[in-house]
């Protein structure tokens, strides 16, 4: 049976979501594949730059696909966009051949609300990278993460990430986005790339240590991103 036959037999939203998920997985293959290739190379080569550009182009395509579906589903039901993030998360969960024991609880409802307000493409892009990191970091343990966006200030958007970064010591939390020699190819690699990308776009990442009595045991990352128009 080919794709045309499948289309003829299709009915209901199950097939519709199946197609989106399939396309997202293909795009994610481009993202992860090129990031992995990038990690295999020394940092300063031209080839590494090309691989990063390739990875980012698939992140953007993935973001565009999600936004298109948000628009289409939004026409049917005002609450539908949240379902799309579920699809996105499920797509990332398909990466389970790497993270068999990963467990994550991620509250993205406020991110969704924020995205609808500011429409920043880069926030979506970063969010995808962060999701990847969270799944990797959660290996063997349980991680609770709360992500939200704050209103744009002077053309910039803030993505705030907080959670229970257990069992990661506080000392290690602070430097999560920083370049560290000898970290290539490790589970930290993707987050280092994430920090590099934020800085490439003139953004910044600030860390605030855990606060006593806070809802979360871990610290908080305030990721400031230059807003990118469509």
């Amino acid at each position: 049976m080919n794709e045309g036959d499948l289309g003829d037999e299709a009915s209901g939203s199950g097939f519709y979501l199946d197609l989106i998920t399939h396309d997202l997985k293909n795009l994610n293959q481009g993202v992860y594949g090129y990031l992995e290739l990038m990690e295999m190379l020394p940092e300063t080569t031209d080839l590494q730059k090309r691989f990063l550009e390739e990875a980012l182009s698939y992140v953007r395509m993935s973001g565009n696909l999600i936004r298109t579906m948000e628009f289409v589903e939004g026409e049917k039901s005002p609450s539908a966009p949240q379902g799309l993030y579920k699809v996105m998360v499920e797509s990332y969960q398909s990466f389970s051949n790497v993270n068999r024991n990963a467990k994550i609880e991620m509250d993205t409802s406020e991110v969704t609300k924020g995205l609808k307000v500011n429409g920043s493409r880069l926030v979506v892009d970063m969010f995808i990278f962060l999701l990847d990191f969270m799944f990797r970091k959660a290996r063997g343990g349980k991680l609770k993460v709360h992500a939200r966006t704050e209103a744009p200030v002077e053309g910039r958007v803030q993505l705030v990430l907080s959670g229970d970064f257990v069992p990661l010591p506080e000392k290690e939390q602070e430097g999560l986005f920083n370049e560290v020699s000898g970290e290539k190819g490790t589970k930290k690699g993707k987050l280092v790339l994430c920090g590099r990308i934020a800085r490439m776009f003139g953004g910044s990442i600030d860390y605030e240590p855990p606060v006593k009595g806070s809802r979360w045991t871990g610290g908080m990352f305030r990721i400031t991103l230059a807003e990118v128009s469509q």
Partner: protein, 118 residues
């Protein structure tokens, strides 16, 4: 040098495979963008590829049917099935694929599969 035939309907996936395969010293025996093209190309290649990377959901003919046809021509063909459709894993292995990778997979897993079959 191990040669690989790349079969996938997404041009960007071809580029990704070519980037990693060439980086690791594999040669590209040919490229096909649907199942029909893959079967035709395989039958026409004077020097058969050592390994085929096969997608599933493609126009004209899917990966499972293409695998069946290629293996009927050449039972020794080694096929790494690489699909975003994990429901086809069992069927792919049943019809004779040597390995199955569910997209998105890690490049190191692809390299391991190729090394195993080389």
């Amino acid at each position: 040098m191990t040669s690989v035939l790349v079969v996938d309907d997404e041009p960007f996936i071809h580029q990704l495979y070519k980037d990693i395969l060439e980086f690791y010293g594999y040669s590209i025996a040919g490229e096909a963008f649907d199942g029909d093209e893959a079967v035709k190309l395989y039958s026409e290649l004077a020097r058969k590829p050592d390994i085929i990377i096969m997608d599933h959901r493609m126009p004209n003919k899917d990966g499972v049917d293409s695998t069946i046809e290629i293996l009927s021509m050449d039972p020794k063909a080694r096929i790494v099935f690489a699909s975003a459709d994990s429901t086809v894993r069992e069927r792919a292995m049943e019809v004779g694929a040597s390995e199955f990778l569910g997209k998105p997979f890690q490049m190191k897993d692809l390299l391991e599969s190729l090394k195993k079959l080389s």
